[in-house]
């Protein structure tokens, strides 16, 4: 059974989230205090973390950073300020996605499903981008025999680009393909994660060769070897 860890200091909201997620068929672990979050995470190793940004004790962004330092688990942030600097900080700290309060239960569940899904291996399970080999079955990345660790979201992002080398993806297209958004225009999500991905797979992140920016349009997988 899939375990979701909910970190929120608002006990009523946490309980409500528990009810909704249980109803959607997930097991839920509620944590009410930021100080206990990391400990709980290590003990229970959840499949996904739902994290409120504003927490007493250690705040959400710091918890996000700590968890990301030792795990590739999907992290979704909850925030009341969708337009603020907090969102970018959370994404840069390693969060995969965020939900702005007040959200609908159905939206939340749909979004979590995208984050928890196993990437579909449509036949070709081995992809190549530049000098990197992508194994979609083993969900791993290899360069010169060495494994590069990626979060699931980063992996999905790289696969989406690598599947169609040379195609230019707009940010909106990536949001729909990788994040499951329908009409969203928050390009910060894409920008931040492309940067994070580059810092992991590019030899020189300042002069990216594998993931190239197409000014005014979006991104594409580099074809240069």
């Amino acid at each position: 059974m899939t375990l979701i860890m909910v970190v929120d200091d608002d006990q009523d909201l946490a309980e409500m989230l528990g009810i909704v997620l249980n109803g959607a068929g997930y097991e839920v672990d509620l944590v009410n205090h930021g100080d206990q979050a990391l400990e709980e995470f290590r003990t229970n190793t959840p499949d996904l973390v739902l994290l409120d940004v504003m927490l007493p004790g250690v705040d959400g962004i710091e918890i996000c950073r700590q968890i990301r330092a030792e795990s590739m688990v999907p992290i979704v942030m909850l925030t009341a300020k969708g337009d603020s600097h907090d969102v970018v900080l959370g994404l840069e700290a390693g969060a995969d996605d965020y939900m702005v309060k007040p959200f609908k239960s159905s939206e939340l569940v749909a979004r979590l499903k995208v984050r928890l899904r196993r990437s579909s291996t449509d036949g070709s399970n081995a992809l190549r981008i530049g000098d990197i080999l992508i194994d979609q079955v083993a969900h791993s990345l290899n360069r010169d025999g060495r494994t590069i660790p990626l979060t699931r979201l980063e992996f999905d992002l790289l696969v989406a680009l690598a599947k169609e080398p040379g195609r230019v993806f707009t940010r909106e297209a990536l949001l729909s393909e990788v994040w499951g958004y329908q009409h969203a225009t928050d390009t910060r999500l894409v920008n931040v994660h492309i940067q994070r991905l580059r810092s992991k797979v590019e030899r020189d992140p300042d002069n990216p060769e594998l993931i190239q920016t197409v000014r005014g349009f979006g991104y594409k997988a580099g074809t240069r070897k």
Binding site: D10, L13, I19, V20, K81, K101, S105
Partner: protein
């Protein structure tokens, strides 16, 4: 010339120096002219006295010489006369005097006429009027004349002429004129005039300098005050005057600074207050979101299981859900308003075609419930660089508002463009509004008729936000209304950000209405 006039108008220093120099020039020239004419008069009178005395003695001497030659021959007479004329026969410029001997008309009739001038002086030097006086009175008062020379038409020397009558034997009457050149006197007067002009120039310059110094003492601090006051007006509230001395200027600086400080404190107090209030609105909105999330999720669960509830409870859940939606819209609008108040609203522009956006909003609203909709406008692209999220919100707010007040009589949406502007007009034929309402139309939470029930449950912030959004694009939002005839709202946007609106592709007064009631809401009064 124009720039000089502007500088003149803007500078007290220039005005004071200019007018005082002008006045001193006038005064010195009056005094100088008076003084000059007195002095030159005196000098001439002196010379005239001397001339009369000298002429008298010369004439007496000449007469005595002629008397001695009485009864002698013409030859000796000629000799004496040429002697008389030769007395001054030096060069014309240095000569002490010139002499002219003329026969009276009666004498001229006799056989021998002894007539002549010294140094080629022309006889016409002596005016006829003078000769008449001399012939009648045997002498004349000194007269100023110009000595003319034969063969030198350009040379003439000022002189004083004195005329006498002498007799030449045996009994002929002759006029003799002595001309005393005024060369020395003229030189002296020229010298005096030069000195006077020089003195006047120096005096004027000194006056200008003194006034410049004095006025500068006063004007410079005033100018400084003006500069600092301008800076204060521009918002640089920390600017102060330098305090020099304890005189009036020093006291002015002190009290000016006190005023500036009081103003700064007051402004920062007000700014602080308004910042606090904006923060408060923003914080409240955010704090409300967490409980709202819980309520929303809880109500959704109730809603999903409403089949098992009795009809009253089931309907209540439906109402609960719709009111939560409304509450959330209100919160979002409140947050947006607080963002505008805090000037934290940011324009994210894209080059888009506005027509599909308008059609999309019409489509979405039409799906709900609908008075008849009408789209008018040439079938072309309406491209503009705008923040599509905000423009969509403006259109949605205007159309929702129109639907709310249309009384199901239909809504017409019009689009038009000019070279630099795109306009969207939303017209309804419903209840309209009065002139008095027009002034408050864009006020927050204002309702045209409080007793009227809300059909769609708008937040009351829609028009206010639409106006703010339009202003953020440097566009305009104008409204026209007539009770019973409906209302017309026209938003006009620049195609490129930062270019002020210069024309109206759509007139806010509908073509089927001729009256001219018009509040203009593109000023910064809200």
């Amino acid at each position: 010339m124009n720039s000089f006039l502007r500088r003149w108008r803007r500078s007290i220093l220039l005005q004071v120096i200019g007018s005082s120099v002008l006045i001193s020039i006038v005064v010195t020239s009056i005094v100088g002219t008076l003084l000059y004419s007195r002095i030159s008069d005196g000098i001439y009178r002196e010379k005239a006295h001397a001339a009369v005395a000298e002429a008298q003695s010369l004439a007496d001497y000449t007469q005595s010489q002629l008397d001695i030659t009485r009864y002698r021959t013409d030859l000796s007479l000629t000799k004496v006369i040429s002697g008389i004329l030769r007395v001054a026969d030096v060069s014309p410029t240095t000569s002490v005097r010139e002499t002219i001997l003329l026969a009276t008309p009666q004498t001229a009739k006799s056989s021998t006429v002894y007539q002549g001038t010294s140094n080629d002086v022309l006889i016409s030097t002596i005016p006829d009027s003078m000769r008449k006086i001399v012939r009648k009175d045997f002498f004349s008062d000194p007269l100023r004349v110009k000595i003319l020379y034969k063969g030198r038409p350009n040379q003439s020397i000022e002189a004083i002429a004195v005329g006498r009558v002498i007799g030449i034997p045996p009994n002929y009457i002759y006029e003799i004129y002595y001309l005393f050149p005024l060369t020395q006197q003229s030189q002296l007067i020229d010298l005096i005039r030069g000195w006077m002009l020089g003195t006047a120039g120096v005096l004027t310059l000194m006056i200008a300098l003194i006034i410049w110094y004095v006025v500068r003492k006063v004007v410079l601090p005033v100018r400084e005050v003006a500069e600092v006051a301008e800076k204060l007006t521009e918002g640089d509230l920390g600017r102060r005057l330098a305090i020099r001395g304890e005189d009036e200027m020093g006291r002015l600086a002190v009290s000016f600074n006190e005023m500036a400080l009081a103003m700064q404190q007051q402004i920062s107090r007000l700014e602080n207050l308004s910042r606090l209030q904006q923060r408060f609105v923003s914080d409240v909105s955010h704090e409300l979101r967490t409980p709202l999330t819980t309520i929303r999720m809880a109500s959704q669960i109730l809603y999903d299981s409403r089949g098992s509830l009795d009809p009253a409870a089931s309907r209540s859940v439906e109402l609960l859900i719709s009111q939560i939606e409304r509450f959330e819209t209100l919160l979002t609008d409140l947050l947006e308003v607080s963002r505008f108040d805090a000037r934290a609203a940011i324009l994210e522009t894209k080059d888009i075609d506005l027509k599909p956006l308008v059609l999309k909003v019409i489509d979405e609203l039409q799906a709900n419930e609908m008075p008849e909709f009408n789209f008018q406008g040439p079938d072309s692209e309406y491209r503009a660089e705008v923040d599509d999220r905000r423009i969509e919100r403006i259109i949605r707010n205007l159309i929702s508002n129109a639907i709310d007040h249309s009384e199901n009589k239909g809504v017409t949406v019009t689009m038009a463009q000019s070279e630099h502007e795109v306009a969207i007009g939303v017209r309804d034929y419903g209840i309209g509004f009065t002139d008095r309402d027009a002034e408050r139309l864009f006020d927050r939470f204002w309702r045209a008729d409080p007793s009227r029930s809300r059909v769609r449950g708008g937040t009351g912030l829609g028009l206010s936000i639409a106006l703010d959004d339009a202003k953020l694009h440097q566009g305009t939002l104008k409204a026209w209304g007539r009770p019973g005839s409906g209302a017309n709202f026209v938003v006009t946007l620049p195609k490129n950000p930062g270019i002020p609106i210069a024309s109206d592709p759509i007139e806010v007064i509908p073509s089927d209405q001729s009256s001219t009631l018009l509040p203009d809401f593109d000023s910064d009064d809200i």
